[in-house]
C-alpha cells in the first residue's frame, strides 16, 4: 500500500468522474435534474413521485415539448445521505439542469436545494411538507409541490368539528419528525378557532417505541373519552400505534395526516373503522375527478403497479406548474420562471388548486379529499378546504 498506489487509484476515479461531467447542456433542450434517492431509506418515497413527474414530462415531450424543446432528464443519487445530497445537487447542475428536483423530505432534500439556490437554479421538493421547503429554508428560488403538513391537521380538526360534531379532542404526537409536529401545529392553530371545542388531553410517544401501553393507559383513564383523537404520526410507528389503540378497545375516531394514506398497511389492523385521512387525490379509484382515475391507470401502465399512496401525485403537479410557468415566461431563466410561479393563484391542477406568492412557495391552504376507512375499506366520503389560510407568521414561528 504505497502512496503512489493510492494516488493512482484516485486518478482512476477522477478520470471516470471527468468523463461523466462532460455532458453539458446545449440550447436545443431543457434539462430537468433529479437529485433524489435511488437507494437507501428515502428511495421508497422519492421513486413514486419521481415516476409521476416522468409521466408528465413524457406527456409534455409527446405534445411537442416545452417552448418547442424536448425535456431531457438527468439524475444523481443522494443515497439518502445529506452530504451525498449536496453532491447530487451539484452534479445535476453540472449536467446543465434548469430545474433541480430534490428529495421528498426537507431534511434530505435541502442540501441539494441549497446547492441549486447558490447556483441560481430553481429547486422543487418532490413532496416536502414543511414551510422550510421553500423561501424560508432554502431561498427565493425554491418551491415544494405538496401541501403543508399543518394544513392537514387543521383540515381534519375543522372537518371533524363540522361533520362529525367533535368537540372533545385528544392529541397524540409522535415526536420523531418535523412532519408529525407540523400536523399537530396545524391542529393547534385550528382548535381555538372552533367554538366550544377543547382539548381533553395530550401525550407524546416516539415512532420507534416498542409499546405505547403507557400512553393508551392515559387515554383510558381520562374522566371523559374524547370525540376524536388527532394522531400526528407517520410510518412505520403509526401502524403500531393504531393497532395498539384499537386493541385496547378505544373506538373514538382517529384523525390523521396524509402520511397514513394507502391500503398497503391496512392488513395489520383488520377491520379498521372510524379512521380519517386527508388526501390530495384518491388512489382508490373513486376520486370525484375522473382524470385522477385515468392518471392512476396510466401510472400502473408505466410502473406496473397502482399508486401506493397520494404521495405519487405531487410529482405530477410539480412538473405541471413549472412547465406552465416556463411557457408563460417564454424562458427557463430562473428569475423569470419564479416570477410566473408567484403569479399563480388557485391555478387548477389535477390534484387541487395551487397558489404561490413572493411570501410563500408552498400551500398554506388547500383542498383535501377526506378518506374514511370503514371495516378496512378506504373510500372518499367528503372534501374540505379550511376556512382561512394558516398565516405564514404562525407557520414560521413553529
Amino acid at each position: 500500500m504505497t502512496l503512489w498506489h493510492k494516488l493512482g487509484m484516485g486518478m482512476a476515479v477522477s478520470g471516470l468522474v471527468l468523463s461523466a461531467t462532460l455532458a453539458h447542456a446545449d440550447d436545443d433542450k431543457i434539462v430537468v435534474g433529479f437529485a433524489t434517492a435511488a437507494s437507501g431509506f428515502m428511495q421508497a418515497y422519492d421513486k413514486p413521485a419521481q415516476d409521476a413527474a416522468m409521466i408528465k414530462i413524457d406527456e409534455i415531450n409527446k405534445a411537442g415539448g416545452l417552448l418547442g424543446k424536448q425535456i431531457e432528464v438527468v439524475t444523481a443519487d443522494t443515497k439518502t445521505d445529506r452530504a451525498e445530497g449536496a453532491k447530487a445537487g451539484l452534479e445535476v447542475i453540472d449536467k446543465g439542469a434548469d430545474l433541480v428536483v430534490v428529495s421528498c423530505d426537507y431534511d434530505f432534500g435541502s442540501p441539494a436545494a441549497l446547492a441549486a439556490e447558490s447556483a441560481g437554479k430553481i429547486s422543487f421538493f418532490l413532496c416536502a411538507e414543511s414551510i422550510k421547503a421553500g423561501i424560508q429554508g432554502v431561498g427565493p428560488h425554491s418551491f415544494s409541490a405538496s401541501v403543508l403538513a399543518p394544513v392537514q391537521g387543521a383540515t381534519m380538526a375543522e372537518w371533524a368539528y363540522n361533520k362529525k360534531n367533535a368537540r372533545k379532542f385528544y392529541r397524540l404526537l409522535d415526536t420523531w419528525t418535523e412532519y408529525n409536529k407540523g400536523i399537530c401545529d396545524g391542529f393547534d392553530w385550528m382548535l381555538p378557532r372552533l367554538k366550544d371545542a377543547k382539548l381533553v388531553g395530550e401525550d407524546t410517544f416516539k415512532n420507534e417505541d416498542a409499546s405505547i401501553a403507557a400512553q393508551i393507559t392515559r387515554i383510558k383513564s381520562l374522566p371523559e373519552q374524547p370525540d376524536a383523537i388527532m394522531l400526528c404520526s407517520m410510518m412505520p410507528g403509526v401502524v403500531s400505534a393504531i393497532k395498539q389503540i384499537r386493541a385496547a378497545g378505544i373506538t373514538a375516531p382517529i384523525l390523521n395526516g396524509s402520511g397514513v394514506d394507502g391500503s398497503y398497511w391496512l392488513s395489520a389492523v383488520p377491520d379498521l373503522s372510524n379512521f380519517f385521512t386527508p388526501v390530495q387525490g384518491s388512489i382508490y379509484g373513486d376520486d370525484p375527478n375522473k382524470d385522477v382515475t385515468a392518471f392512476n391507470a396510466k401510472y400502473k401502465e408505466v410502473t406496473g403497479a397502482d399508486p401506493s399512496s397520494q404521495y405519487v401525485y405531487p410529482g405530477y403537479v410539480m412538473i405541471d406548474v413549472w412547465a406552465k410557468a416556463v411557457e408563460r415566461a417564454k424562458s427557463t431563466d430562473a428569475d423569470a420562471v419564479v416570477a410566473e410561479l408567484e403569479k399563480m393563484k388557485d391555478e387548477p391542477t389535477l390534484f387541487g388548486p395551487r397558489s404561490f406568492s413572493s411570501e410563500i412557495h408552498h400551500q398554506n391552504r388547500g383542498r383535501y379529499l377526506i378518506v374514511e376507512t370503514d371495516k378496512g375499506k378506504p373510500r372518499v366520503i367528503d372534501e374540505w378546504t379550511i376556512s382561512e389560510a394558516i398565516p405564514v407568521d404562525y407557520l414560521v414561528s413553529k
Binding site: 421508497a44 409499546s211 401501553a213 403507557a214 410510518m235 412505520p236 394507502g262
Partner: protein
C-alpha cells in the same frame, strides 16, 4: 388501584422485550466476549422471513400464513440458523482478536444484513397481521389488559425458566456456564469450544426470533430498522446488569422497561419528550455507582 396495576403490566411487558433482547446479547458475550451488534438485524431478518421478497408497498405474506404451531418453530429456526451461520462464516475467524475488532465486524455484518433486506424488500415498512385476536383485552383484577401483554410476559418468564433449567441441569448448560465463567480454563478441562459457542449462537438467534415474533404481533409492521432500538436498550441492559451475568441482564432489562414506563406516566407533558434523556442519565449514574454492573460476575473482577 387498577391504574397502578395497568402501569405494572405496561412496565412488565416492555421489560420482557428488553430482557429477552438482553439475554440474547449476554449469552454470546459470555462465551466469546463479543458484543453482537448484528443482533437487532437478526430480529429484523426473522420478521422479514415471513414475507415473500418484493419491493411493492403491499406485503406478500408467505411463511406468515402458516399455522402458529408451524410458524413459531419456523421463525425460531430462521433466527437460530442465521445466527449460527454468522458464527461459522464470520465470527469463528475472530476468536482471540480484541473485542473492538469483533464488535466492528459484528456491526459490519449487521450492516450487510440490513442492506440485503433493503434490497429485497425496500425501505418501506410492510404490514403483517399476525394473530390479531391476541390484541383483545382480558380482565385481570379489574384492569383490562390486552391478551398479548399477558402472553408476552408469560412467554418471557417461561423462556427464562426454561433457559435457567437448561443451563443448570444439562451437560450443555454446565459447559456453557463454565465457558462463560472462564473460557480458557473450561477449554482445558475438556469443554468443546466450537460446540458451546455454536449453541450459544443458536440460543441467541432463537431469542432474537422470539422478540421478533412478539414485536410483529404487537406492531403489525415489518420494518428494516425494527430491531435496532431494542438491541441498543438490550446492550445497555447487559452492561448495567453486569456483563456476562445472565440474571443480571434479565433484571436490568426489566428495570429499564420499568423506568421508561414510569417516566412516561409521571413526567409532565412538556418534559415527556425528554423521557429517554432521563433514562440515559440514569444509565450513566448506575455505571458510576457500580462500574461493573449491578450483578458483577466473578470473572469480571479486575485484578488491579
Amino acid at each position: 388501584m387498577t391504574e397502578i396495576l395497568q402501569v405494572v403490566f405496561d412496565a412488565l411487558s416492555l421489560g420482557s422485550l428488553y430482557a429477552l433482547g438482553a439475554l440474547g446479547i449476554a449469552l454470546i458475550f459470555g462465551v466469546m466476549r463479543l458484543v453482537n451488534f448484528a443482533h437487532g438485524d437478526t430480529m429484523a431478518f426473522c420478521v422479514f422471513a415471513m414475507l415473500w421478497p418484493s419491493v411493492d408497498a403491499a406485503a406478500i405474506v408467505f411463511a406468515g400464513n402458516l399455522p402458529a404451531w408451524l410458524l413459531i418453530p419456523f421463525i425460531l429456526a430462521v433466527g437460530a440458523g442465521l445466527s449460527v451461520l454468522s458464527e461459522i462464516i464470520v465470527f469463528r475467524r475472530f476468536r482471540n482478536t480484541n473485542p473492538a475488532t469483533m464488535m466492528i465486524a459484528s456491526f459490519a455484518l449487521g450492516f450487510v444484513i440490513r442492506y440485503f433486506l433493503l434490497m429485497l424488500y425496500s425501505s418501506r415498512p410492510k404490514s403483517i397481521d399476525l394473530w390479531s385476536n391476541l390484541g383483545l383485552p382480558v380482565e385481570i383484577l379489574g384492569a383490562r389488559i390486552p391478551l398479548l401483554q399477558v402472553i408476552t410476559i408469560v412467554t418471557a418468564i417461561a423462556i427464562l425458566i426454561a433457559l435457567t433449567f437448561f443451563l443448570k441441569r444439562t451437560r450443555f448448560g454446565l459447559e456453557m456456564r463454565a465457558a462463560a465463567e472462564n473460557f480458557t480454563m473450561a477449554r482445558m478441562l475438556g469443554v468443546r469450544a466450537n460446540r458451546v459457542i455454536m449453541l450459544a449462537f443458536a440460543l441467541s438467534g432463537m431469542l432474537a426470533a422470539a422478540v421478533a415474533l412478539i414485536l410483529v404481533t404487537q406492531t403489525g409492521t415489518a420494518d428494516i430498522q425494527m430491531g435496532g432500538n431494542i438491541m441498543l436498550i438490550a446492550f445497555i441492559a447487559t452492561v448495567i446488569g453486569g456483563l456476562g451475568s445472565l440474571p443480571g441482564a434479565v433484571f436490568a432489562g426489566f428495570l429499564i422497561g420499568a423506568i421508561a414506563t414510569v417516566m412516561q406516566v409521571v413526567l409532565p407533558p412538556e418534559a415527556r419528550p425528554f423521557r429517554d434523556a432521563f433514562v440515559y442519565a440514569a444509565v450513566i449514574a448506575t455505571l458510576i455507582w457500580r462500574p461493573n454492573g449491578i450483578f458483577m460476575p466473578k470473572s469480571a473482577k479486575q485484578r488491579v
